[in-house]
Subunit: 355 residues, 2 copies
């Protein structure tokens, strides 16, 4: 049955799904009845999780009641017999699994909580959805720990997460430049920077435009939280890399399993270590935790009852990548005005056709 | 000066060194006077660190006194003026930076401490040097967290670290097989397994022999702590990967900066994501902490006084890689009897000529 379901889901979604993926989903039902919590546990694209559960429902293994998922008696018997394990969460409670001591950054954390109350809400147009203040502080701590913060020139590409403000708040960087397309955010960042006397240069600009000369090879460190189509990754990371000065400069970005399959992870890793000329020094699982955003249920498929339920707590997470330039770096500076940044088969907002 | 030193060190060591590497080493002297502690902080091969410090001594920036390193007055002035930063260690104190809660594994940890008192000492012949019991337990916790332990068939390639015993102690794996060349270790593992009624199958075998049919495509998870020449990595990881059943099976291994340059990291990452067919899902910095081993000073270069001093505490660490099979996996099964597993220019034991 598991093999059939995997084949069926592959067929329906265009995402390669294997029997072990089906077992992971079944295992996750041992710990939660909430679809979004399952999606958060299984390291699979959203649509694969949804279709696996749909198929399990059709097969009588899973029952849906008022949007909640549970195993049927037959499902329970199968889990027992096949010894399917629930996922084991072993995250350190002190650091949330990031491995970083945020002790030296308590003032920054309190400040982010404070200014966060006034920040603009995420909107679908720019694929927004911001991380918790703890995640933003952890990024700054990671930069500091890797020697990429103090006396360095930082470039932030898209800054829904207010990393530019957080980095500047430490007074350690030599320069912080942020490029952001949403005028609500550029205004917010500029006003906060002015109010707290922080040196942040804000450029209101669409990243798809031809990359300007004045940003080329000028920075020590870039940060971004890219959209996860291959084109989106290419544009955001290619811009970031083109902006670095050279060897030993570093880039930071988040990558999910929820909108990025293992296949796409692999393609990206080949591109990073090949054409782009960097090495991956860190991949820290579940580093970035996103605050639930209002437009979620409105933007995802409506045909499955168990999907149209509110998430039980924050569920969307991404791994933190750090890449470092080895000898020389290649980027992506051409105009990319036709690039599809947001929608592919693995995107949350994908509803059956590619635009 | 920094550019000259980088060029000189590149020339002397055959390892590509950049100005920023020199600055990292100078920065590290802000926190320690011990060579091994510097080496532990700077993410560079041992020989690059040694030669950078040697050049800094020649340049009058660093002074050596009774094996201790310190900045000269001129060096201090330069650090001040150029604002060279000391490394910032932000490791979570609860989990040692691994991000894992070892709470559920306290019994295992106590047991490893107990049996560890009787274990054979590391010997140079097999490039041995084992990790702390906490590191071994953390590996088991990571396997559990990723779904690679319970009801799975595990293969351990070389087991100086007693991971096979630790995994079996949890009673969760379906099968644990360990391949080890050192008869002292195979005997120790067999005796401990017998004494504590643990199911561990021990094969005393040289990994370079043609890979036997009975290990091919038989396992869900492999673990190894490979030697770090490219050939060594190829043989150990290639054997491990050839032993995996297929999609979603996983491999775990440690990789240092101390014996493996960023260039070699990049080459390996290309090979993993290319020819080997896996994706890298985790790279956790400083995950494995090694207990200082007796033969260290005897095996490294004798010409530099600051190298011939005992390390100030455990200093040798490796990052933990987890790789996962995407669609199909390729390994390395041919005989590799001529492979140079241990010595290249980046090895600790390299003293000027390749054998």
């Amino acid at each position: 049955m598991v093999t059939d379901i995997a084949a069926q889901v592959t067929n329906r979604t265009g995402i390669k799904v294997f029997p072990r993926d089906v077992l992971r989903v079944v295992g996750a039902l041992g710990t939660t009845d909430n679809f979004w919590r399952v999606a958060s546990l299984v390291r699979l694209p959203f649509n694969a999780v949804a279709e696996i559960l749909n198929s399990l429902t059709e097969a009588g293994v899973v029952v849906v009641e008022a949007g909640s998922l549970r195993l049927s008696p037959a499902g329970h018997a199968w889990v027992e017999e096949a010894r399917i394990e629930a996922p084991f969460v072993a995250r350190c409670r002190s650091c949330g699994g990031r491995g970083l001591d945020l002790g030296p950054f308590q003032e920054l954390l309190a400040w982010l909580h404070e200014i966060g109350r006034l920040r603009p809400a995420p909107i679908k147009e720019f694929d927004q959805g911001y991380v918790t203040p703890e995640s933003t502080v952890a990024r700054v701590a990671l930069l500091a720990a890797r020697g990429d913060l103090a006396d360095k020139e930082l470039l932030v590409l898209g800054d829904d997460d207010l990393v530019s403000l957080a980095a500047a708040f430490t007074r350690r960087p030599k320069r912080v430049v942020v490029l952001e397309v949403d005028p609500r955010l550029t205004r917010f960042i500029e006003e906060a920077a002015r109010a707290y006397d922080l040196a942040v240069e804000v450029l209101e600009q669409d990243i798809r435009a031809r990359w300007p000369e004045h940003l080329l090879r000028r920075f020590d460190t870039f940060l971004t939280d890219p959209p996860e189509t291959l084109e989106g990754l290419d544009v955001f990371l290619g811009r970031g890399l083109a902006s670095l000065k050279g060897p030993r400069c570093a880039g930071y970005f988040g990558l999910t399993f929820t909108e990025c399959s293992l296949e796409k992870w692999q393609l990206l890793q080949r591109r990073l270590t090949g054409r782009f000329g960097v090495v991956i020094t860190d991949i820290i699982a579940d580093f970035n935790e996103y605050v639930n955003w209002d437009y979620l249920l409105d933007s995802v498929r409506k045909d499955l009852g168990f999907v149209q339920v509110p998430p039980a707590g924050n569920w969307y997470r991404s791994a933190m990548y750090r890449v470092e330039v080895v000898e020389s770096v290649a980027g992506h500076t051409d105009s990319a005005s036709d690039a599809e940044l947001y929608v592919d088969r693995e995107a949350l907002v994908y509803t059956g056709r590619l635009v």
